[in-house]
Every structure is written in C-alpha cells, then in structure tokens.
Amino acid sequence: MDSLVTAAARSLALGDPLGALNRVALREDPAALALRGIAMAQLGDLPRARELLRRAARAFGAREPVARARCLVAQAEIALVSRDLAEPMRALGTARAVLEAHGDRANAAHAGYLEARCLLLIGRLDEAGRVLDSIDADALPPVSRPGAWLVAAGIAMRRIEAEPARAALDRAARAARRIAVPALVAEVERAAQAFEAPAARLHARGEGRLLLLGDVEAVLASDMLVVDACRNLVHAGDKVVPLSSRPVLFALARALALAWPGDVSREELLIQAFRARQADESHRGRLRVEIGRLRAELGPLAELHATEGGFLLQPRGDGASVGLLLPPHEEEHAALLALLADGEAWSSSALALALGVSARTVQRALEALAAAGKADCFGRGRACRWTARQVPGFPTSLLLPAALPVG
C-alpha cells in the first residue's frame, strides 16, 4: 500500500470521508477507486459509490483476489442498504470464501454477517441462523457486532422466541455502547422499543388484550387452539396448520374462532369468506365444500360441528379453549400485512391471488406499505418480491466499516 492510500484509509477509519477524498480524489488506480467508493458511500452517494467500487473490483481483477473480494463485499453492503437484495446474495458467499482462504478473517466475518442479514430480510430464517452461527465471532469488526446481534434478535423475534431475542438485544446494546457510535446506540434502542411494544392482540371468549412477544410465546405454548391472523395459520400445542395460501379457509377459521364458544351462522360465514351479500343456493353449496376442506385441514387440532344455524369450532383435548391472534393495531392493508407476516418473500401476483383482488390493487397497497416503512421489496420486474418489515431495522450509517485495503 502506498503513502496517500494509507493516509486516505486512516482518514476513513477516523470518520473523515472528505479528508480521504482530498487525498485520492484524482487517482484512478484500483486502491484509490475503492477508497473513493467507500468515502462516497459514507457521504450517502450510493449510486456513485457502487460505480467506483465496481470499477475498483474490475481493476483489481483475478490477480488481486483479496482486494477484489473486499470490493465485492462493499458493493454487496451498498446493495443491501438499498434493499436490492438479489445482488448481495449472489456475491457474498463467494467473496467470503476467498477472504477466508487468504486469512482475511475480519472481512470474511463481516461478509458472513451481511449474508445472514440479507437472508433474514428475505425471510430465510434457518439459513440466516446457520450463516450467523458459522461466523468467526472474535474476528468480527467491533462496528459490525451490534448489527450481528440485531440479526440474531430478528431471527428469534420472527420465530417468537422472546428470551433469546431479549438476550440478543442486550448484547447488541452492550456492543453498541462499547464502540460508542451514537447512531448505532439509537438503532439498537429502537429495536429494543419494538421488542417491548405489543406484538399481537389476543381475542378469546369475547375479550381482547394486547400481548408482548413473550405472552404470544406463552399462548402458543399453552393448550389453547390459536387461529393466528398475524401469520395466517392455526396452532395447537406443537401442531401447526398453515393456511396462508388458503385465504377462504383461513377466513372461515377466523370467523369461527372469533365467535367461540358460540357458533357462526351460515350467512355470516358466507359474508366473511366469500364477501357474499346474500346467500343463494350456489353459495351454500360452496360453503359446504369449503367447510369440508377446513375440517380435513384441522382434523388433528379441532372438530367442526354443524349446528342448527351454522357451524361450531370444537378444539380437541379436554378443557381446551380457542383464541384469535390479531395484529396489535387495526390498520389499513391488514390482510396484506398478515400474508407478508409469514416471513416469506411474496410476488405481488401471488398476493393478489391469495387475497382475490386485482394485481393493480395489490400493487397500490404494497407501495403504500413501503412508503410507510412497513414492507420492503427487492429485485426488479418479474423477479420483484415483497416482505414485511416486522423485525428490527438495520444500521445503515456504518456502511463498510471493514473494507479498508491493506498492504
């Protein structure tokens, strides 16, 4: 590494991107391009940063694989911050392997953390957990540690495991305080506040109450039959019936759970499940079919009894009750958020199909949710996928902490 590159890298490490740019602004060699790219990223000009890093990676080429891999990690981090998630998924694994093979433990660990963060954002929780476990924690740069713990917290929160989530948030807070970056401390505090806020509302026997994540966990662990409208599934003990791809069946289950221990009239079920205004014979026939399907799906968890006026949900097991788990606040596009809340990455056409509305309607709703910070999309065109942002946000102010070139 040469003298001005060393001086510029020191400026960046001291949080002075303008000082770094002053030193290498006119240079076109790959090390200078990479430093300029990182400085531009820290200054918030992500398109320019991406272009500079792309040129740096190309100029390093196959002859300087470690320097090139560091540029790829930096590009992936920019793509991740821009929520363009398909791109980092392609590059990170390869770059990480190169860095590991050449003994660059810090940058390899940072690449692994980014990969886990990316997997969490697109709802691949098991893979995110595996990648996070595989990181060399001692080698992880200090500024990446709070983010890595936030990923661990996010995985636990999506899995509704309150204690591991709380422990990870505590460790994120300690890691953030240790390096004393105010933006990062604030980020972790926001995540902790989200964790302390009600996660759901439980409606049981005509009464509703708000639940923290730990309460949700307790309810799911009890013998209560829970119709979960946050994730569109039915849950009893260790048995789970997912219904996120069966919106009609879920609507029926939801109406039956809300009325329990009472029954629900056929007319009411028709209105809930088919949005039918008045019941005719064809609707009644369709209701019979759908009730039959729901009975088959819920077989291990509950029975469906026909009553004089309609149907009654009866959980299996003595003394078992029924509850309906709802999002904590009634909000617009709740049905859409409920579908997204399963953690999967949905295409807008699949959402339209599941909700029985037009693609244009879904698109408008998704754009409104994205503008409100409640949903994220990644990929472009036909490959575009949507997820709910119900897990902690991620620090973006610490872009590229460990990508400095070394001699």
Binding site: M1, D2, L4, A7, D29, H102, G103, V406, G407
Partner: protein, 210 residues
C-alpha cells in the same frame, strides 16, 4: 537462483495504539517504524518501544546516520530523531504513490508501489536521478553492503529480493510464508532483516541468507 522460504526469527507486536506498521528503518541500535501519526523506536533486544517522534508517517522510513527520513502523503520529511524537529521537506517522487525508503551513497531510494519502480532521489531537492524497474509491487527498500534489496507484495503473496541495481534483474529471493506480507524493510547490516507487517501491526525479524 533458487528461491527460499523466509525463516522468521522473532515477532514483535502488535503494539497498543498501532493499527499498522508501514516504513521500517534501523539506526544501529533501534528499529524505527512508522505507524500513521508517529515513528516509534523499538529496542530489538527487549522488544520495548523506547522512544517515538510524533510526525505523519504513512510509508517508508530510513536513517542516514544522523537523521530520520519519513514519507507522509506526498512528501519526505527529514527529522532530527532526538528533538522530533522537522529539518527539511522535499516532494516524494511518486507524488503519494510512494512506499519504501532507503538511504545509501548520499541518495534516497524510494519505492513507488503500484508503478513497480524504485527511484534514486537527491535528498536535498527531491530530484529523480534515475529509476529502476521491478516486476512486482514495491513495498520496502534497503541497501546492505552495496546490495539493493526490496520487498514486494502482489496477488496476496510477498517476498524479499535482491536485485541488480543496473538491470533490475532478480539475483536472490526469499518467499514469505502464505498470509504474511512485508511493508517496510531494513536490516542490521548483518544477519537480520527487520520487516514491517502492515495491518497485522507486527514487526518481524527474518534471517538474511549468508
């Protein structure tokens, strides 16, 4: 010429408040090494840092018998090591692309990292007297008993080589073990090289072939 593998005799560091070791120079007793915002003097027997001069220090370091010379950004400073006073400043020949620095025969010898060159420079004016080409990125540079040695780094491998100062031909080569780079380079004039370890923050002693 048969390349050999470096024999590392001793490692110093990493040291507190030293992120990286850049230039390395030997004054007969102590090893001076550049670490960004100062040049540290290490006693190679005890391994202790016994003195330091606070001056910008981003690349090569050398000693002419009385003064320290230190590259920072795009200049070379001439420093009194006892007082830390900067006595003179000349432009560095690579305009900031400079890496290693050595003193010999009344001239400064400056490595230009990515250009793969070593320049002979007038220590009073900074004028380039002549230029030797290498075929690898040049890091440290040193002269021992009329022999020109320099360290290289490329494709994530590093070596220390003796070259013909007229033709640039490689006469001898010591390969560093995988994953170990050399930034600055100097010798004690006898059997030891002192090698900066870049961002590892270490200073290593490598056996010089007889």
């Amino acid at each position: 010429m048969k390349p050999r593998t470096a024999e590392i005799l001793r490692e110093f560091g990493p040291f507190p408040e030293v992120d990286a070791v850049h230039g390395v120079g030997f004054d007969g007793r102590r090893v001076w090494f550049a670490s960004g915002d100062r040049v540290n003097a290490l006693d190679p027997d005890s391994g202790e840092i016994v003195d330091a001069v606070e001056v910008p220090a981003h690349a090569g370091t050398t000693f002419d018998g009385a003064h320290l010379f230190q590259i920072a950004e795009a200049v070379i400073r001439k420093i009194d090591p006892r007082t830390g006073k900067v006595l003179a400043t000349i432009p560095a020949p690579g305009g900031g692309g400079d890496s290693g620095l050595a003193w010999a025969e009344g001239s400064l010898w400056v490595g230009q990292y990515r250009e793969r060159k070593i320049h002979q420079v007038d220590p009073d004016t900074g004028a380039i007297l002549r230029t030797i080409d290498s075929d690898r990125f040049v890091t440290g540079v040193t002269w021992i008993d009329g022999e020109l040695w320099h360290a290289t780094s490329q494709a994530d491998a590093s070596d220390i080589r003796r070259i013909d100062h007229r033709s640039g031909a490689v006469l001898d080569r010591i390969d560093m073990p995988a994953g170990i780079g050399v930034s600055g380079l100097d010798s004690d004039g006898g059997g030891r090289f002192f090698c900066g370890g870049g961002t590892s923050g270490k200073l290593r002693v490598v056996r010089r072939p007889a």
